[in-house]
Amino acid sequence: MSILRVENLTKTYQSGGRELTVLHGVNFSLEPGDTFSIVGPSGSGKTTLLGLCAGLDHASSGSVYLNDIQLDKLSEDERAAVRNQYVGFIFQNFQLLPTLTALENVMIPLELRGEKGAQKTAQSLLERVGLGSRGHHYPTQLSGGEQQRVSLARAFANRPKLLFADEPTGNLDTDTSATVIDLLFELNREAGTTLVLVTHDLDLAAKTQRVIRIKGGTVVSDTQVATSI
């Protein structure tokens, strides 16, 4: 069974009274444990595709099946429940809640599920990303790399089946990027999560098993990568 299946996905926006189609009939499917990247130039539609796949937006036509759940049939609140159940996120600008400590940020997905022992789980995840002693620091008290590691811990907190990462190293320097990426793939391997990575960094994309290239909203290539870490 595919963990993510995208069928004939099209997205159109109204812009200045005109229709602007940013995705044209995209199709692909992913198996559990796959690592997958979407690459393409700015404005090619890759972030739109990620948003649709993660259930953050709804398509103009076509369907997205996440763990066999057809997302476009669900309301926004129902999609939120699906995200909490099956999906983890990593963003280019980290998207940590500035008023919460690192530990509290990691606890949110667990608390939303009503899980007991959220604090313990979150603490062990922070230790796993090397920030065990920084749990009570606020995001502004952490460096960019540390914030992204907190974000990694939060993404894996609810043991997601799918992890979406949008330009995860876009705001980091080269050294920090390498550390974060190593950690991301390591955690992903340990958890057996399917990873969907949006990037314009071809070297990073090459670390995944499969790369699709988008241009002008259309998939122009879909390549299996021979070597992956």
């Binding site: 972030t47 990620l50 937006d57 926004e76 995200r83 963003f91 809640l97 008023t99 608390e111 009503g114």
Partner: protein
Amino acid sequence: MNFSWLFRMAWRDSRRSRQRLLLFMSAIVLGIAALVAINSFGDNLTRSIDEQARELLGADLTLSWSRPPSAKTQQLVKTLGRDRAYEVSFASLVSIPKTGGVRLAQVKGLEGNFPYYGTWEVEPASAVQTFRQAQSRIALVDDGLLVQLGAQPGDSVRLGNLSFLIAGRVTKTPGQAAIAATVAPTVFVPNQFLAGTGLLQRGSRIAYKYYYQFTPGTDVGASIKKYESVFDKEGINADTVADRKRQTGRSFADLTKYMSLVAFVALLLGCVGVASAVQLYVKEKITSVAILRTLGASGRQALLIYLVQTALMGLIGATVGAIIGSAIQLVLPQVFGRFLPVSVDTTLSGPAILGGIGTGLLISILFALMPLLAIRNVSPLRTLRTSYEDDLSGRDPLRWLVYLLVVGFIVGFAYWQTNNLMLALGFTGGLTVAFGILTLLGLGLIWLVRSFFPASWSYVWRQSLANLYRPNNQTLILVTAIGLGAFLIATLYLTQGLLLGRVELSASGNQPNMVLFDIQKEQIGGVRSLVQQQRLPVLQDVPVVTMRLTDINGKHPDVTKKDTTQKTPSWAFTREYRVTYRDTLISSEKLAAGKMPYQANGNIYVSIEKDFLDRLHLKLGDTLNFNVQGMLIPTIVGGTREVEWNRVQTNFVVVFPAGVLEQAPQFHVLMTRVPDNKTSAVLQRDLVNRFPNVSAIDLGLILKTVDEILGQVSFVIQFMALFSILTGLLVLGSSVVISKYQRMRESVLLRTLGASRSQILRITALEYGLLGFLAALSGILLSVVGTWALAQFVFDVPYRPDIVPLLVVTVVVTGLTILIGLFNSRDVLVRSPLEILRSEV
């Protein structure tokens, strides 16, 4: 739903905004404080009236009448109670021979041990005992009268033919609010000397009263119940402690309830500030909401997190308000001062505090809910695209539900306070119109600045004007909040001016400004010549006959009382009618229906004033039987008149035709016009000397009394309006702080790009100056239109608003706005750009 998590999240998320949230909620603090203070005061006043009810009356029972009852009833009233005191009172001119001062006063002849309860505050206190012994001609005189006439204890006061030694200065009489001494200051004399004054003449309007003390434990109401019908029939008014408690309690409950509506305006103003602040807060929180939505929080959960935050802050604001209000109520007895009939014992009032906190919490939640609803629609897509804005642009039908709840709450609150649905709806409607007009003025202002932007003006002007309409501007909220405060203050001044103007106008031109009354028939010639000797005109000379109504259409009061289909109020038969006779209408009258008074076929056709006709449910052709000093005179309603009452002039509800009452016992009222106070004083002195029973009242005295009462009333209203003004300033303060966060970056950028401190200072001062000026102008404009409508349609006087107080309000409001604006922006002005960037970003 996991509520404990919602509370935890609300708590965590508020960490960095608590100070600001508290600042938002401070806007409701003063409104709640005013509400709790006035309601606590109301509760304490009711309790004090209950506790001191006997002192309100000074006795267990009073019986009063103005027409001597039958001999049998006179005997009866002398047997009631364990002890009784007797009082005869009437209005008369009194004079102080030493100073030559003359003034109309209430004269009371007392015998017995009044008051039985409460303290009669007289200086020296020993004078009361001397007075009760009644062995010599001594008088106790109200303090106000002594001050006005320049007299003091030891001087003498002349009443008619007799002089009395002033033995004491009365500062408080049981059951009489101090303000009553302003309207009708009293001279108390032992009753046995009253006859010697020569003032108790036939036709004088004299009131008689017995004060009774009963054996402790007597149910006074029950023991006089059997005499009720006798009292009714004889026109005797019985007043027990319970009656007085009820009447006084009711009138003061009404007063405090209306005052609480003024406090509620302050609260609503604060709530508008809260809604505006929360709207900006929500804008700041949108990214956090989008993250929560991405991680799986539902729209409702996200909304509830922020609703819990604002509700908790509302609770804190309301509680602080309740504490402040409970403290403020301690000074309210001083504010109401001379209006209060009892000394108010101030203690904490549980219902007022809980009611205030509940009201504050509910109304702040409702107002905060308006901007908070948008949180439900925040899209998680914002985590990927910061420029995404489609989620909040759509219309939300739930907003209308919240608007409806807010309006419903206001109507409900006003109804709870006044028990009058029409008044509650009127209050809500008036507020909606005021808020609506101020909002429109604010919007109009933004449009004007935008449309006619002076592109050629200097940079400082352009920047400060642009701040009035750019995104996240506070123009609308400040024009509404400050404007409403200015509106309240300006309306207060203008209405006070209107009321005084109305009295002044009533005697302008050739209208009479002095009334001489209680002139006996045989004295009228002498009084006329006295007036003419002083070269004053006799503008009106009106005969007055007093009478009572015995039946309407042949139905006596006992029949109309039992017959539920009869709508005639019982007071129609117990009141005394002062009637004149003439065949024509005078300038203040207009024929509404039927004819002027006339006689035909042996029938007497009288004219009834239109409002009175309606209140008695009478119609043309109805028969009225009058009793004139024992003689019955049948009449028919032949016509009805509209009467302008607001003139210094004799007006009558019933007018007889000439040729009927000429021989009846009567007194005359004469009107003249005195050019100045000096002439008025000379005329009054001559009157006292030659016709001591004749009384005079001049417009100066009326104006002075009205002015004094209005002064007291307006002080109370100003005190309550102060809460609205301060709330307006708080809203201003919090709006400036919020906009400070919004503008900090820009000011820093300007500083970084080379703008001098003085330029930033001028931009800020100009912006807030413009806002304050335009807000004050909007409020004053609204007030001028409102009071013009009052003058035009209600008071019917020419409208000449006093410009000076309006200018003062404009200057003060503008100045305060600039000061608060600069004070809150001082960081940008005095600290280095880098310092601010590091601390704020």
